[in-house]
């Protein structure tokens, strides 16, 4: 097969730069595999390694420092048949550390070539995550203070199924690269090389020294058995091929007449675990069964199992402009947490507001009409109080009718839960507490 090197744009690295060897080896590997340019994309980012995409007649994507793996993932998921080769330097590995970890854990079929020359060549030889502590680099003493990273051990512990560490001067580098490209999953080669432009100006590093240090390091030669598993894209497509198409929610038809005219605002003040949001949904749905416009806003703490839970609902025959609540028609007070969070509401009310208050819940002084009820005595569990209160409200013909409530419950619930919910609202009595 022909070379994929772009003869119009020959490599422009400093004389003696090991990147040039890698570029040629990559070309050899791709042509040995019989790949044409349209079957390959080279994704690169910033630094001297970022020039790679320009030397090849393949698809090319050159982006931001350390982010090459992110673009590569998007491309591979969109075009599963494409051979995606990513080149990054040791600088990119540092700044893009989170993406390296994610790529290892994910196991999407990409090949990452790390052109590791122990420093930032392009910006003046500053230290990178792989710079030895004893090296003399462009960051003065700073590299003496930080331990260099073993990229291969990191990749293995992050779940990479194919990790290799080698010298850029190996004679069989093309075979090494080919094996990684052929691997069905995420593969990474940590290639140690020499940057004469910066690094070896002040540090002694030769192919022989690289071989010696590699020999003194734990060898990584490719497949990591304990990490072998299904390739991500394959697995993803396998899982989703069994999913059924989801249709948009069906509209609810208007069948009933609302018991009261005009805009009605309801505030349900409860606490976490009282199914406040679900009750808000039911109230809104009840509105839809009467052709009303509705809005619903919920307020709860980010620690969802504790603290106040509030639902604010507006029902109106007109379009609802402002969706804030200023003068509610009904307040349902189910828990002190919710009441505390909205205590500023109570002072402004007049007798036109109805407060349905559960026994034992204190509320601030108010001019509103208070309807006390003891749901505990009626045998309701605390998590059913919100729905039972809606039943009380409907029985009073406030905001919604009982028919609207029943219809809403039938829209929202199914099967067993539906049965018990219908049962529940039928049981709720208007009996005031003594």
């Amino acid at each position: 097969m022909d070379s994929l090197l772009n003869t119009g744009r020959p490599p422009v690295f400093c004389p003696g730069c090991s990147h040039e060897r890698v570029a040629k080896a990559l070309d050899k590997a791709l042509s040995n595999m019989g790949l044409t340019g349209d079957k390959v994309v080279i994704v690169s980012d910033i630094g001297c390694s970022g020039l790679f995409d320009t030397f090849f007649n393949t698809h090319a994507f050159h982006g931001l420092h350390g982010r090459a793996l992110t673009y590569a993932a998007g491309i591979k998921l969109a075009k599963p048949d494409l051979n995606v080769i990513v080149t990054m330097g040791d600088g990119g590995i540092g700044i893009g550390g989170a993406h390296l970890l994610a790529a290892c854990r994910r196991n999407l079929n990409l090949t990452l070539l790390i052109l590791n020359n122990f420093n930032f060549g392009m910006t003046g030889g500053q230290f990178s995550v792989t710079t030895p502590q004893e090296a003399q680099v462009g960051s003065a003493f700073l590299n003496r203070l930080e331990k260099p990273l073993d990229v291969c051990s990191l990749a293995r512990s992050a779940g990479a199924p194919y990790v290799s560490r080698c010298s850029s001067y190996r004679n069989d580098l093309p075979d090494e690269i080919e094996q990684a490209v052929r691997f069905e999953g995420f593969s990474l080669i940590d290639m140690w090389g020499i940057c004469p432009g910066r690094y070896t100006k002040r540090n002694k590093l030769t192919p022989q020294i690289i071989d010696e240090s590699l020999a003194g390091n734990e060898p990584f030669t490719g497949v990591i058995k304990e990490n072998l598993r299904k390739e991500y894209g394959l697995h993803y497509r396998e899982i989703v091929s069994g999913l059924k198409k989801v249709s948009p929610p069906a509209g609810i038809n208007a069948e009933y007449a609302p018991p009261e005219p005009g805009r009605r605002e309801v505030v349900i003040l409860g606490s976490a675990g009282q199914r406040i949001i679900t009750s808000g949904d039911i109230l809104c749905t009840a509105g839809l069964t009467a052709g009303l416009k509705v809005t619903q806003k919920n307020d709860y703490n980010i620690t969802v199992l504790r603290g106040p839970s509030i639902s604010e609902i507006i029902l109106s025959p007109e379009d609802i402009g402002f969706s804030g609540i200023e003068k509610p028609s009904v307040i349902i007070a189910l828990a002190h947490e919710g009441v505390d969070r909205r205590k500023y509401l109570f002072g402004n009310l007049d007798e036109n507001t109805l407060i349905i208050r559960i026994k034992g819940i204190d509320i601030p002084d108010t001019q509103a009409t208070v309807f006390d009820i003891d749901l505990k005595e009626q045998g309701f569990k605390i998590q059913d109080w919100a729905l039972a209160s809606l039943a009380v409200m409907a029985r009073l013909n406030k905001v919604i009718s009982f028919d609207m409530l029943n219809a809403a419950i039938k829209h929202v619930f199914k099967d067993k839960i539906l049965e018990s919910a219908l049962n529940l609202v039928n049981r709720a009595e208007l009996k005031k507490r003594d």
Partner: protein, 372 residues
């Protein structure tokens, strides 16, 4: 009549699917997360891909890769995530990668308040990129807008090959609302123009056009994409003539078309002295005031902007023509007020903002107008 109940975020997700969006990646963040939740349910069964990125930088990076490989792509976040998107947004602008970005704004600065609404990123969306070239920002008012403007956003992203923002707000995004799905006025779907040239140059524009034709990475023809300053061929260039032509084109392709997508609603009353200009969730309170004042026989005019960037300057000038006084209301400290003052230098322009997590109420607006 039949109605659905949906929150703004769900409507964005369904609007995206209807637009042909087949790739989404995002990182969980309140109040944007329910866009991801909804798309995770609906995109994979439709043959698309939904990803949770390891962070925001990755999420938008996946989208850029997928978009260049030919899939309509979207990501969603809030202020803190938008900050992390910044570098990639600049890339999408400079390298003409179609992408829809939803910013569900929450109260800032910084991590601020996750569950409180605001419109505090209006200038950030416009200027949060290196180079300062124009972007498109659309601002929904309600759930129906969330659906329809998302469709427009996809169309504009494809047509102009640029990132398009949806400037949502927690107060729209996480408020459930009834709407009639059959009453939505959905735009026809626009796809990027695919090149059929023998010799393809990824950034070459045809005579009389300002937007290059597209081919996906991974097809028969080789495609180059690069974040570097490039010529038509997608290779880095130092030729200042080429660079200058390219920068001007990026600016002109958006600015010169601004009039063709100045989405808005306006209620102009002939006898009105005052014009209210607003956008987003605040428009709802303003509309209530408009209705009320009209009923009381003290009419005010109202202009609700749904395209914030590029600023629809001609529209604003036209609508303000007969008004003596212009009043801007917004959920921040005056970010769009500055634009209005710039466009209407000979009008008295006043402003009321609020940035404490609560909505601007109709009462506040009425009092500010002095018509209370």
């Amino acid at each position: 009549m039949s109605s659905c109940l949906m929150e703004g975020n769900e409507a964005v997700a369904w609007g995206a699917l209807a637009s042909g969006c087949r790739f989404f990646a995002g990182y969980p963040i309140t109040p944007a997360t329910t866009i991801f939740n909804t798309l995770l349910k609906i995109i994979p069964p439709a043959g698309g891909i939904c990803m949770q990125g390891e962070d925001e930088i990755a999420s938008i990076g996946y989208c850029l890769g997928a978009s260049m490989a030919g899939l309509k792509s979207m990501t969603a976040t809030s202020g803190p995530g938008l900050s992390l998107y910044s570098e990639q947004i600049s890339f999408a602008i400079g390298s003409e990668i179609p992408l829809v970005i939803v910013d569900v704004q929450r109260l800032g600065p910084s991590t601020g308040s996750a569950t409180r609404g605001a419109d505090g990123d209006v200038q950030f969306m416009r200027w949060g990129n290196s180079g300062g070239l124009p972007v498109i920002v659309l601002a929904p008012v309600d759930v129906a807008d969330c659906f329809v403007l998302t469709m427009h956003a996809f169309n504009l992203a494809e047509e102009f090959r640029c990132p398009v923002f949806i400037a949502s707000n927690k107060e729209i995004a996480m408020t459930k609302e009834s709407f009639d799905p059959d009453a939505l006025i959905k735009p026809a779907i626009i796809d990027r123009i695919v090149s059929n040239e023998e010799k393809f140059f990824p950034f070459e524009v045809k005579e009389g056009c300002l937007v290059p034709q597209f081919l996906p990475i991974g097809g028969k023809t080789l495609v180059r994409q690069t974040s570097s300053t490039h010529g038509d061929d997608g290779y880095i260039t130092t030729d200042y003539n080429v660079i200058s032509r390219f920068q001007n084109r990026l600016k002109n392709k958006i600015d010169s078309a601004a009039g063709s997508f100045a989405f808005h609603e306006s209620f102009i009353e002939e006898e009105a002295d005052t014009l209210i200009i607003t956008y987003g969730v605040t428009a709802r309170a303003a509309k209530a005031v408009y209705d009320e004042q009209k009923k009381l026989g003290r009419p005010v005019s109202l202009l609700i902007l749904k395209t914030l960037w590029p600023v629809p300057e001609k529209l604003i000038r036209d609508k303000a023509e007969t008004a003596n006084r212009v009043f801007v209301f917004e959920m921040n400290m005056g970010q769009y007020y500055g634009e209005i003052r710039r466009i209407l230098p000979d009008k008295k322009v006043e402003f009321l903002g609020r940035m404490d997590g609560r909505l601007i109420s109709p009462r506040q607006i009425t009092e500010a107008l002095g018509n209370g």
